[in-house]
Amino acid sequence: MEITMMMYLIPSLIMFGCGVYGFITRKNMIAILISLELMLNSVDINFTVFNRFLFPGQMEGMFFTLFAIGIAAAETALAIAIVINVFRAVNKVDIRELTKMKF
């Protein structure tokens, strides 16, 4: 049995689907961030997998993932800072109730 490209892509696809589902359904901002991480991760897998299987001699996909991980870290840190700040201000993390700045 061969491990084909498809076999890596399918878990990644499911992970992405879960991320979408979570992003849309969850109310807690941190849970949303977690879903976001899932999606990001699945995309990272795709990059590396495509790199590995289609262009094994080059490293673009890998580097892209590398940078994506770095940026994801930064973004998460920032997002969590905001979440905590918002929580301090309104004592909530439920996005449905954060409508103060709407219009």
Binding site: V20, F23, I24, T25, I32, I95, R96, T99, M101, K102
Partner: protein
């Protein structure tokens, strides 16, 4: 041309107007008044010099082959529309304008002097003199106009001076509404004038009086027989122009402003609403007479309107109780005489005597009507009321005024040797020459004139002797009596001026002789009317009241001026305001504005409807984004398959 100094008669008053208008408030009342009067005096001298030189001088080419020439003293371009249609400001000296110069400056000077006494102590004295100067300027500009558009310009200016002077007591609502009415009614008539000018100039391609009148046949022919709604366009043009004249001259049915205009100071009534401005319509028709007399239809309209107005105004004058109103209706009636006289004049009838008669009557009427108004002013000044019921027996208190008023009444009634006799006689001659119908009609009106004038005279100076209380009437000061005396003298002698030699339609001499048949008849009628008035009104008695009671309906109708004002009120308020303006305003607010507001509202509600799509919920965005992406992908897939 040696008449160039005539320009000064226009320049002095306008400079005076600006001077008094701008710095007048800084001057004392006396200074302003005297300054205005002196300026007017100088103007009068210059105008007399010009007119007398024109009439009686020989050396400057005024008369060529027995025909008085039309001299264009000055003609500067003011506004160029096209190559030929040019508004020029200029001075045209010919018999009628020279005569009008004399009339206007004389009456104006008298009014200036008179006002020194009459307006003494009034608020806005300086303003009053400024307006008088403005009026004098405008009126002089009107009569010396070289082209019809210049006339229109000054026509509007006299209109506005009249507006300002009628509304002089601007805190009184009656004066304000009277001035407004005067302006709007004459403005409406001026619309006709303007349209007439437009039509006339469109076909003849000129505004110039000399060009128009020197070859009237060509002017008429230039329309090329074009018609509009069944009438020739030239008839339309001339009738519309006459409409302007009718408005200014208060011809029926555009007369309604003149009685109300009596709200102005009395000297103003004397100057503007008796002697000068109101004859502008007559002057206008006279100016274009050669053209008018080629349009038979228009001439008939003029005659009919003149006759109807004469009778109507005389009938109303018989029952009015306000002395200025009586004089106002009498003015309307007398101007109607002049208009009729022009209407019946034909070059072939007695060498166009109607034209000359009209101008002659204009001249004499200006003098004696100004006299009557100034007397009325003196009376009002003494009694502090306009109502006849508050007067009576004044002959004892105001002898000079009494005599002057009597002279005025005799003159207007047409009693020899007063001025009115001669001019009215010529008018009647002209009317009989055209058709006996007009002649008889005018004779009747002349009789009514004598009746209501003497009714007025007796009611003021005889009738009863009411208790005047503390304010015993007294003779007016010298500044007021001098003009009365002067104008009385003129009213006595003016009839002997050889008008036939001076002012005729073709500017050639005309031999006039008194037609004793006509003159005798009219004198008999006048004397009869005077006797009737004497019987009825010399002493206080109940007969007039009984007579009024016996035909109460007619009497009330006449007293209410045959409801013409109410009719106008109805048309303007109920029809124009309520049925046109208000619906338009409503339409504008609701329909037009509503349409645009509705557009805005629809946009607004549409954006409210789609606002939810961007409510700030990231999850919603993602869902829509994904759904959209999936949809696109599905479409792509289906297309590929």
């Amino acid at each position: 041309m040696e008449f160039s100094y005539t320009v000064a008669v226009l320049i002095i008053p306008i400079v005076m107007f600006l001077f008094l208008g701008i710095v007048g408030v800084k001057l004392s009342k006396k200074t302003a008044g005297v300054l205005g009067t002196c300026a007017m005096g100088v103007t009068t001298l210059i105008a007399y010099a010009a007119a007398l030189t024109y009439f009686f001088g020989t050396e400057q080419g005024q008369i060529v082959d027995g025909v008085r020439q039309q001299l264009e003293v000055m003609n500067i371009t003011w506004l160029e529309f096209t190559e030929n249609l040019v508004i020029k400001l200029g001075i045209l000296l010919d018999p009628i304008s020279a005569m009008m110069l004399i009339v206007i400056t004389t009456v104006s000077l008298m009014v200036h002097i008179y006002s020194l006494g009459y307006m003494d102590g009034e608020k806005g004295f300086q303003r009053y003199y400024a307006f008088l100067s403005l009026f004098t300027f405008s009126m002089l500009g009107l009569v010396v106009a070289t082209n019809i558009f210049q006339m229109y310009i000054f026509w509007e200016l006299v209109g506005v001076s009249s507006y300002l002077l009628i509304g002089f007591y601007y805190t009184l609502p009656a004066a304000v509404s009277a001035s407004k009415k005067a302006f709007i009614v004459t403005r409406f008539a001026d619309l006709g004038f303007l349209l007439g000018i437009l039509i006339l100039s469109f076909y003849t391609d000129t505004f110039d009086f000399v060009t128009l009148t020197s070859n009237p046949g060509a002017a008429i022919a230039s329309a090329g027989g074009a018609t509009f709604m069944g009438c020739s366009v030239m008839a339309w043009a001339l009738t519309l122009i006459f409409m302007g004249g009718a408005g200014k001259s208060a011809m029926f049915p555009l007369h309604i402003w003149l009685p109300d205009a009596m709200e102005g100071p009395t000297p103003v009534s004397a100057l503007i609403h008796a002697a000068t401005m109101v004859v502008a319509g007559v002057y206008l028709v006279a100016r274009l007479f050669p053209v008018y007399c080629l349009e038979e239809g228009t001439m008939t309209i003029i005659t009919v309107i003149g006759c109807v107005t004469a009778l109507y105004a005389a009938a109303v004058a018989c029952v009015q109780s306000d002395i200025k109103r009586v004089l106002a209706f009498s003015t309307i009636s007398q101007i109607a005489f002049m208009i009729t006289s022009l209407g019946v004049a034909r070059p072939e009838l007695h060498e166009g005597v109607g034209y000359m008669a009209s101008m002659f009557h204009l001249f004499t009427h200006a003098m004696f009507k100004a006299l009557l108004f100034l007397c009325a002013g003196a009376i009002i000044h003494a009694v502090h009321s306009n109502e006849m019921s508050k007067m009576g027996g004044l002959r004892k208190y105001m002898p000079i005024c009494n005599i002057a008023f009597l002279i005025g009444c005799l003159a207007i009634s047409g009693i020899w040797p007063f001025a009115g006799f001669f001019s009215k006689d010529e008018i009647l001659v002209a009317a009989y020459a055209n058709s006996p119908v007009w002649g008889i009609w005018l004779s009747v009106v002349a009789g009514m004139t004598a009746f209501y004038m003497f009714r007025l005279y007796y009611k003021i100076f005889w009738w009863n002797n009411p208790d005047y209380g503390h304010h015993t009437p007294h003779e007016a000061p010298m500044t007021m009596t001098f003009p009365l005396i002067f104008l009385s003298l003129v009213s006595i002698v003016a009839g002997f001026i050889p008008f036939g030699d001076l002012v005729t339609w073709n500017r050639e001499g005309l031999t006039t002789h008194i037609n004793w048949g006509v003159a005798g008849t009219s004198t008999v009628i006048a004397v009869g009317a005077i006797i009737l008035a004497t019987l009825l009104y010399r002493k206080e008695n109940a007969v007039p009241e009984k007579m009024a009671d016996s035909c109460r309906g007619l009497w009330t109708a006449a007293y209410k001026r045959f409801y013409m004002d109410e009719l106008y009120q109805f048309i303007t308020h109920k029809i124009i305001f309520a049925c046109i303006s208000r619906p338009i305003a409503w339409f504008d607010r609701r329909i037009i504005d509503g349409t645009f507001d509705m557009l805005a509202n629809v946009t607004n509600s549409a954006s409210y409807a789609v606002r939810k799509l961007q409510g700030g919920s990231i999850q919603g965005y993602v869902w829509v984004y994904l759904a959209g992406a999936a949809l696109l992908a599905a479409i792509a897939i289906i297309c590929i398959i």
